[in-house]
């Protein structure tokens, strides 16, 4: 501390206490609010309070609860067991199955090798060959793999996984890939057509908005009628061109495709609308310049339209993928997830598990769904920002 410090501090104190200087202080939050003239940041924060409250109460709090709940056993039809904490057992059951046992001797050779590897890493880190942080991370990974995974093996029933979860997972994946690709293949031509100036533009707009605005459940019900085996219009039209229509909704393979077609119908209009907005924001002069240079229609599409449409495509892709992962309404309305479990998506599985009152496991499944959406969002966002 320098010699002048006490003097300075004294003056600072006097400044803070003197009545003359307090008049120069900016009025506080309360005074500004009372006078009806808050600063912009203050007003903004106050205006955001209701939205923050709603989101906190109805979004964040429930999600925290689901996370917590998934670590507990709770079956409302077995009230005697209460709600004990069971750790990650639900996730273990989901990914590896419920009849698993943990055994030290299982795959002992491999586990010894993993331990030797971890020891080697630490030796290397001590000698300065490897970095400490790398060594730490890999040791944790090796111990987890060696300790948890390699110790597990099928129990009495010899079952490796929750077959129903993996069935739901693969169906969700199939529907996601097929319907996202399908809705882009249909949505892009829709957008290109809707972008053409014509007298019938209002009709085009309506045709794009109807699929978007229809309740998804009712779309499912409607298409179940269109795909009806004996009296459906789809099989009638197929019959007219000489194809025998399949039993759409009571066989596993056609049911998946019927559901995919329905989902594509319901969502391609939304993709079309987003892409249409992207098309309309493209500068007209770019096309004129390309025309002067003698570019063909196809060349213009590849060189101008598609690259400039990229942000819109990314947005539509994110929204579509997220809604596809959560697919529930349409397969539920068409076949209740049947025939058998051919249309049981993750969403339907969660809902069925909830209805069978196994709330703990339903929460774990919901978390799995949530993690999948989060992972895809992050992946896409990184991709978009990397493009920038």
């Amino acid at each position: 501390m320098s010699a002048g410090a006490p003097y300075l501090r004294k003056e600072g104190l006097a400044l803070a206490l003197s009545p003359a200087t307090s008049a120069y202080r900016r009025p506080g939050l309360w005074r500004r609010l009372r006078s009806g003239n808050p600063t912009e940041a203050q007003l903004g924060l106050i205006l955001l309070i209701p939205a923050a409250l709603v989101l906190a109460l109805v979004m964040f709090w429930p999600i925290a609860q689901v996370l917590w709940q998934s670590l507990h056993f709770e079956r409302l039809n077995v009230p005697a067991r209460g709600r004990p904490f069971i750790g990650l057992e639900h996730y273990q059951r989901m990914l590896w199955g419920s009849d698993m046992t943990w055994d030290v001797r299982h795959l002992l050779g491999w586990r010894l090798l993993a331990f030797a590897g971890a020891a080697g890493l630490w030796w290397g880190a001590a000698r300065g060959v490897a970095r400490w942080r790398t060594a730490l991370v890999w040791t944790v990974v090796a111990l987890l793999v060696a300790g948890l995974w390699m110790g597990y093996h099928p129990g009495e029933a010899g079952r490796w996984n929750d077959a129903r979860f993996w069935n739901a997972f693969s169906i969700t994946l199939l529907i996601t890939v097929a319907s996202v690709v399908g809705s882009f293949l249909v949505g892009l031509p829709l957008a290109l057509l809707a972008n053409v100036e014509s007298r019938w533009r209002w009709l085009v707009r309506i045709a794009l908005l109807i699929p978007w605005a229809m309740p998804r459940v009712l779309v499912g019900v409607m298409f179940a009628w269109l795909f009806n085996y004996t009296n459906g219009v789809v099989n009638d039209l197929l019959g007219r061109v000489g194809i025998a229509g399949p039993l759409w909704l009571s066989r596993a393979d056609p049911a998946i495709w019927a559901a995919n077609i329905t989902i594509v119908w319901a969502t391609s209009a939304f993709v079309g609308l987003i892409l249409l907005a992207g098309l309309q924001s493209i500068d007209e002069s770019l096309y004129e310049a390309a025309m002067v240079d003698g570019a063909s229609r196809l060349q213009r599409f590849w060189a101008i339209t598609l690259p400039l449409l990229r942000p819109s495509i990314a947005v539509a892709l994110i929204f579509r993928t997220l809604t596809a992962i959560q697919t529930f309404d349409i397969p539920f309305a068409m076949t209740q997830g049947g025939p058998g479990r051919a249309l049981e998506t993750l969403g339907i599985y969660v809902s069925n598990t909830t209805n069978s009152l196994n709330l703990g496991y339903a929460a774990a499944l919901a978390v799995a769904l949530f993690v999948m959406s989060l992972a895809i969002t992050v992946l896409y966002l990184r991709w978009i920002y990397a493009e920038d």
Partner: protein, 306 residues
């Protein structure tokens, strides 16, 4: 604008494509309407008929006879309109803050709000069910119980929220939350379009900032509010899963849930169901016919900036 001189083949292709687009968009609904005008016997005939041979309105009578469909419509209307009003109010405040005011972390806040729209509604199902069933209020309930134990016996031992299942609130609350992110996004982008000079002029004239908000900004932002309102309304009218789970009493069902109740264990009364669908989507079709441009503007504002 984009009207280059197309060749004849191109023009034919465009006309054909447009026709295909219109048929694709409207055919299922038109088919439902046609189905609803046929009688039950005509429906199970093979080969199927396209145009109804004898138009009958019997199915529409059936819709209202078998189940209280008018009540379903009323429930849906009450829930959707309330959710729309509440959500627009909250989103307008937030949108104004994020779109017009100089706030720190503005973009981050907007991104955060929009990101919440990516939460699956399915995840909310169980915790919201518990919450609406009635639960201890966190923080408050333990405090009250503590005071009770200390000897203040006039205090209750816990504070429970009311049971909201089978009330309108059980749907209004989650619908507000589910539409809030997209509504905020739409309104934020609309507020950004309003010129700042308008507000500064009012401030110079001696308005306070709050007065300026209500007297100058509110009237100008009406189109944006209408757009957001329509989209919230459509979202709320169409929601199925939460309505199915939370409101299980017959008299509290909404339209999408109610329509799925017409099917029996084995029989599908397609004529009645299609008539019910036709009636149930009438409000949506009316909205589309009236506000098509606004809806598209709102959807794309929500989409392109997200």
């Amino acid at each position: 604008m984009r009207r280059q001189r197309h060749g004849l083949p191109m023009r034919i292709a465009v006309v054909l494509g447009t026709a295909l687009l219109v048929i694709n968009g409207t055919f299922p609904l038109v088919w439902m309407m046609l189905t609803s005008l046929k009688d039950e016997n005509e429906l199970i005939r093979i080969p199927i008929t396209y145009w109804p041979e004898a138009i009958t309105f019997q199915n529409y009578v059936q819709v209202f006879d078998q189940l209280p469909f008018a009540r379903f419509m009323l429930n849906s209307a009450v829930v959707s309109i309330s959710a729309t009003i509440i959500c627009v109010l909250i989103a307008a405040l937030a949108g104004y803050a994020l779109g017009r005011l100089n706030m720190p972390y503005r973009r981050a806040l907007l991104t955060g709000i929009v990101m919440t729209s990516m939460f699956p509604a399915l995840v909310l199902l169980v915790p919201l069910y518990r919450m609406f069933l009635g639960m201890d209020v966190p923080l408050l309930s333990p405090l009250v119980a503590f005071l009770h134990d200390l000897g203040m016996t006039f205090m209750p031992t816990e504070v429970r929220t009311p049971n909201l299942l089978n009330t309108y609130w059980a749907l209004i609350i989650p619908y507000v939350a589910l539409s809030l992110p997209i509504a905020t996004l739409i309104l934020t982008s609309f507020f950004q379009l309003i010129p700042r000079d308008l507000e500064s002029a009012a401030l110079v004239d001696g308005c306070t900032r709050v007065e300026a908000l209500f007297k100058v900004i509110a009237p100008v932002s009406a189109p944006g509010v209408v757009t957001a309102a329509i989209i919230i309304f459509v979202n709320s009218w169409n929601e199925f899963l939460l309505a199915l789970t939370f409101n299980t009493a017959q008299s509290m069902r909404t339209v999408p849930v109610g329509i799925t109740m017409y099917q029996g264990e084995f029989a599908f009364p397609w004529a009645t169901i299609s008539a019910a669908i036709t009636v149930g989507v009438l409000p949506l079709v009316a909205l589309i016919l009236l506000f098509q441009q606004k809806i598209i503007a709102g959807l794309t504002a929500g989409g392109v900036k997200g």
